[in-house]
Amino acid sequence: MAALCEGYTLCGLVPAVNRRSSEIKGIEEERDSDHVIVTDSSRSVTLYKVSDQKPLGSWTVKQGQVLTCAAVFNRLTNEYVAVSDNKVIRIWKEDDIILDKAFKATVSADVRSVHCAHGAEPAVLFQRGAVRLLDSLLSAPQQPVEEVLVQDEAIRWSTNIVTETQQMVIFTTELKGDHFLYLQRLKPNSVQKYRLEPEEPGLSPLSFWASYRDKNICLLYLYPNGRVYQSLVSVRGPAPDDGAQAVPLPRDQLLSLPVGEELLEAASAIFLDDAHVAVVGVPHPSAGPGKDFLCIWNTNFQTLQAAKEMAGKLYGQLWSFSSKLFIPHGKALSVIPFACPRSSLALALGKLKQVKTEESKTSTVVPSWNTILHGEEAAPPKTAEARKTRTTRKMQSSLSLTIDQVQDLIKTAPVEEVEKEVQELLSRQDPKDPQPSLGQLALALVSRSLADPKFYSSRALTQLVPIRCLSHSVCPDLLPLALEKRDYFLCQLCLLFFHDIPEAVTCACLKTFISLSDADAERLSLEPDSVSFVEMLISNERAQTGLQNGFSPALCEEDRTDAVDDPKAKAKEKQKASPQQTCPVGKHKAALINEVLQTAYSEALLLPHLKDFSSDQVVLFLRYLEFLYLRYSTDGFSQMHGYRSPSLNQVMDWVCMLLDAHFTVLVMSPVAKGLLLNLQSFVRSQVRLFSELGKIEGSLQELTKMKMKKDVGQYSIEVIELY
């Protein structure tokens, strides 16, 4: 899971009252990732050391002059380059104090921007589309500069890309509502022109972002309707034919961000890595219309990975340098470190080991990634599918008015009516192809419940949860709401059907379940399968005998083998051992805890939350886990039933985590001592078993070796017998 860390302020900003953009013109990386130069929109360039949050130097042009493009740092020469008043190129070093005394040169045409990528020569982009390398320009500053763009065509955005072999400047232009992408290669010079596919009329891209990966330039752009597209431009590309013809540029829709009623005004999206996109200025999917959010989306799984509300107005500006996001908001420029671990399926879903039940039960109702990625019904690739649902959502909501009507109804109507309508609506749905917009109903229900404490429709929600279209990222408030309303059946359903529950929420559930009193728990009506599993577990807890998996509870106290021969000692041992064999919690409570055990989690994120548990809770939970473990290992029934149940591995993982989180507390606590001793002897017996198995393996190997060794040589006389 990607995460946004706590941010800090790099510098204050003069609040821009009526301007759309902030006063920051640009931020560029300086000598290393810890140094940036910030160009503000008036006259000054400031060098900051980011980790210290302090400026190291600042340069200002004279009153009356204006910096017209963001300053860049040329690493090859350790010089700064900026342009003032469109035509004057200024170059200075860090120890130049007064900017006016530094080098300047006036060129013959208006400069749009200067770009300088890592280790490359600075390139100058003129407003009319021509590109020059800074060196060649300075050798003859007054050289004529051609016009590449036609009349009325204007550059909207530009950047600089350096590949292994080539440096190139890419920029986008707008001409009468059409958008074009220019790919200007340098050394040798050639230009390629692409036409962006038009979006809905009147919509222009709000932001662009380009990165180079796998021999392709990857262009990311965001439209005001919340759609994020990606286009791949091959670096090698077709043979340059002077860019006479604009090649249409195919695009892929990566994300369709929720925008609410109105279009976005100031927003931007940038790639953090190949699977994560950071978006600023787009509303959080479940936080109402406010747009002051910085979000990280995973494009592969279409999930919201992290979000942060920013104080003050956002300007739709966002920069990212080496795992730090730079975002101007309100009166400050904030630096927010982030982490985007490589998004594997396992990480995105946590540890999801229980394949068996996955297949038998949940896959019929809930889209598990296993079935989407590998399953029979998921022929289109995952993103395509997810994308489709997202694009159709909009369409369908406009087509099927009934869902909209119900949604409106939810906002006002009493509980009974809402429940009736929802049930009716669901009964009309084709269970095989539920509409994604149904998820909106749950959202509406939850937000009504949050707003109106008297309103809570458990029935409608429990009907909605088992539908494919809902997940925790779509409706993050559902599970906390259910917890708050003590609707544990709904909690159980959420745990069962949502695969993306954050570890914090999982832990909150667990905590509530553990501290639930057994009397309360027995009154609950829960999912029957899970309860009957626990019933079975408890009912034949006495029935078991014999050695399984090399472990006999009679032997676990001491390593005395003769205890088996002595019936009295055996009985005694058994008596001693039997208390652990009773389930420490009631069956409903156990069913709820089982549900938590089966959820996906990732250990690193779960551990801190586990530490919040009180020692009583820990001991109770541990006793329950031990009970489960004993039950599983003393008879082989974890495999033999068809119930949805935690696997032995899951139980073991939780035991380990719990011990990790609370070991010191447990060691000190007298209540837990017996428990720990039991576990330890248990583990020891298992270790013994495995060492015995190892010995057997060794002797078997020796046997096969002996057979091999018989070398006959060239001649022998043997005696054989046939029967």
Partner: protein, 685 residues
């Protein structure tokens, strides 16, 4: 049931020769295989891949190409000659010099009227195939550089020739080259080396497929002479190509020992635009794949590692049947070992020499499973080099150990041996009767005073031997009209009968007292692989290539009751699934009910007094029987007592003292003697 003292012999350094070329005749289903020593072998694919004929090679004859024209087999080699074989007498019929230097390839057109030979001097020579010979017709226009490979267009109007760095297409009418297809050299260091087009295939739709020394398989349009597609298959050479009959599949053999299959299929299902797509890779060889045949249902390959591999294409055959099993033929289907039962001598036949060994001795007896100390080591008594260039095609040692005979294509030689404990003398019998020529099989009678030699037209020459001279007695002939060579000679112990089997699947029994045909065993469709006459009952036991066993009573001239019962009940499936033929049958004089037979992987004693195994009983039951107590053992046992202790058996013989001699040649020993394969990068090395 029986304890045996076994002489386990591993000092026969039999080394098969590498496979150079193969040609498959799809009408007769015969595969001709040429080996590096010049030998040609004929396998009958219709009859369980039985190796029915072997034409011995010759020093200096190196066959580069084989070609069937109808039922006639031609070969050509670097000696510059084209040879036609006489498949009835197992010898070259004639050779003619092509006068173009070494010949790299020959190819017949589809009508069978012309034979094209590609020569070192850059000419493609056309030979007209006449009734009894071939005649030079003309040269196609001469090129610079040798012609390595040839392929006729099925219409016969064009012929494609693979050369150095290029492929030429000739108009076979005019003889002019019409196209020149330039083949790219390899990259890097091999850029400077000429690329050799090892193999070309000219398809009906004028597609030309080539395999070359840069590791490429290339698809060309033969009409325009343009390259359509290149598949880089290996870092080493693509040595050979083979096309299926329907031209929908092509296989390419490489120096790495892999075989890559290409199929002409459409890239997406249901579309018409077909292209050649690389589909499967087989790896059954450790060394160069030099020869390939693509039959309708299998890929047949051979190469440096000397094994012939039949790899069924699993989409063409029914799964989990005998037909779908991979078959590796590593050993000849005939005996290269003769054993003097009375003298305890072994004669090993090599292509150009013979070795005579005396077995070791042990004076101790042991319990089953034990190895006895060897008192006297085995000893090589004689190594006899052949005279002349021709290789040995058969050899025999008399049971008493005093006569030794071998034959080449040109001549038969007979030696008299005198072996005492420390004195060995060998003396050539100088005057042999004129009738002893063109011999393909030799055999001595059990009393060592007759020599039988199978000769042309399926006849047997009988020669009487005595201390001083040898005398022609008679030529035994049968009247079936078959001219196929006799590959098995089996005299009876009492000297009354001689059984012969030829590759027309006929078994004839001659009465040696009357010197005339006694009877012919009813013909069975599969070729006999071993025939023997029981010493006491006078029954003839034959085992055939399809693993069937028959017992025929020579007195009643009908199948014996046991044989009928065996046919009624059927053989055990595991017996039928074995893929090497039984190559010898012998009998235990102490127990007339016992028949001993062996193939490469087992030897077996059939006890005719015991019940035959049912299909569901456990066939290989020796281990189980061993663990059972004696009375129960008898109830559980069945007629087939199989011993798999010894593997890669070339010969099993029962000596007079009832000890067994097994001659093993472990495959690993053969593999160890092969040259190193091309170096391949293995992971983590």
């Amino acid at each position: 049931m029986g304890e045996f003292k076994v002489h386990r012999v591993r000092f026969f350094d039999y080394m098969p020769s590498a496979i150079r070329s193969m040609a498959f005749n799809s009408h007769t289903e015969r595969l001709a295989v040429a080996r590096a020593d010049g030998a040609v072998e004929i396998f009958n694919f219709a009859d369980n891949y039985f190796q029915e004929k072997v034409i011995a090679g010759r020093d200096g004859r190196s066959i580069e190409a084989l070609c069937w024209v109808g039922c006639r087999l031609f070969s050509a080699g670097l000696d510059g000659e084209i040879t036609e074989y006489d498949l009835e007498n197992l010898r070259p019929r004639y050779s003619i010099e092509a006068y173009g230097g070494p010949i790299w390839t020959i190819s017949g057109n589809s009508e069978g009227t012309l034979l094209a030979a590609g020569c070192e001097d850059g000419t493609v020579k056309m030979f007209e195939v006449l009734e009894d010979r071939i005649q030079f017709q003309r040269n196609l226009s001469r090129q610079k550089g040798r012609i390595i490979s040839l392929s006729w267009h099925p219409s016969g109007a064009q012929i494609a020739a693979g050369m150095m760095d290029m492929i030429r297409i000739f108009d076979s009418e005019t003889g002019h080259a019409t196209h020149r297809l330039l083949v790219d050299r390899g990259v890097g260091a091999s850029k400077s080396r000429e690329v050799v087009v090892w193999s070309v295939a000219f398809l009906n739709d004028h597609t030309i497929i080539s395999g070359d020394s840069a590791g490429k398989v290339q698809i060309w349009d033969g009409l325009t002479g343009t390259l359509i597609r290149t598949h880089l298959v290996t870092k080493w050479d693509v040595l050979v190509l083979a096309v299926s009959q329907d031209e929908s599949s092509v296989i390419a053999g490489t120096s790495e020992g892999t075989i890559v299959q290409f199929q002409f299929i459409s890239s997406t299902v249901g579309q018409q635009d077909k292209l050649w797509v690389r589909t499967r890779t087989f790896k059954n060889h450790s060394h160069d794949v030099r020869a390939l045949v693509h039959t309708d249902s299998a890929v047949i390959s051979g190469g440096m590692d000397t094994q012939l591999v039949v790899r069924p294409l699993l989409d063409k055959v029914e799964k989990n049947t005998q037909e779908s099993a991979l078959r590796k033929i590593a050993f000849p289907h005939r005996n290269l070992v003769s054993c003097a039962k009375k003298a305890g001598l072994l004669l090993f036949q090599f292509p150009d020499h013979l070795e005579l060994w005396r077995l070791g001795e042990s004076d101790r007896n042991g319990t089953p499973g034990e190895s006895l100390p060897v008192n006297r080591k085995p000893e090589k008594l004689i190594q006899l080099k052949t005279k002349g260039e021709d290789h040995i095609c058969c050899s025999a040692l008399s049971p008493c150990g005093s006569w030794l005979s071998y034959a080449t294509v040109a001549a038969v030689r007979l030696y008299r041996l005198q072996i005492s404990s420390n004195n060995i003398s060998i003396q050539k019998v100088s005057k042999l009767p004129r009738e002893l020529k063109s011999v393909h099989q030799l055999c001595f009678s059990s009393d060592s005073c007759r020599l039988f030699a199978s000769s042309s037209f399926s006849s047997v020459v009988v020669v009487a031997l005595n201390q001083t001279d040898c005398k022609y007695l008679h030529t035994l002939k049968h009247k079936s009209g078959s001219r196929q060579p006799i590959h098995i000679l089996s005299p009876s112990e009492d000297g009354q009968w001689l059984a012969t089997a030829n590759t027309d699947c006929e078994i004839h029994v001659f009465n040696l007292r009357k010197m005339k045909l006694h009877c012919s065993v009813p013909a069975y469709s599969s070729c006999p692989t071993a025939v023997s006459i029981h010493p006491t009952t006078g029954n003839l036991v034959s085992v055939h290539a399809d693993q069937q066993i028959f017992e025929f009573s020579l007195k009643q001239k009908e199948y014996s009751e046991w044989s009928r019962q065996l046919q009624r009940q059927g053989l055990h499936p595991l017996w039928l699934q074995r893929d090497t033929p039984v190559t010898s049958i012998s009998f235990n004089p102490n127990n007339p009910a016992h028949i001993m037979l062996h193939d490469v992987f087992m030897f077996c004693i059939i006890d005719q007094s015991l019940p035959l195994p049912e299909a569901k009983t456990k066939f290989y039951n020796q281990m189980i029987l061993r663990s059972l107590p004696q009375p129960q053992r008898l109830r559980e046992s069945h007629a087939f007592k199989t011993c798999k202790n010894f593997q890669h058996l070339l010969s099993v013989n029962l000596l007079e003292d009832l000890s067994l001699v097994v001659v093993e040649r472990p495959l690993v020993d053969i593999v160890a003697q092969l040259p190193a394969p091309v170096r391949q990068k293995k992971f983590a090395t």
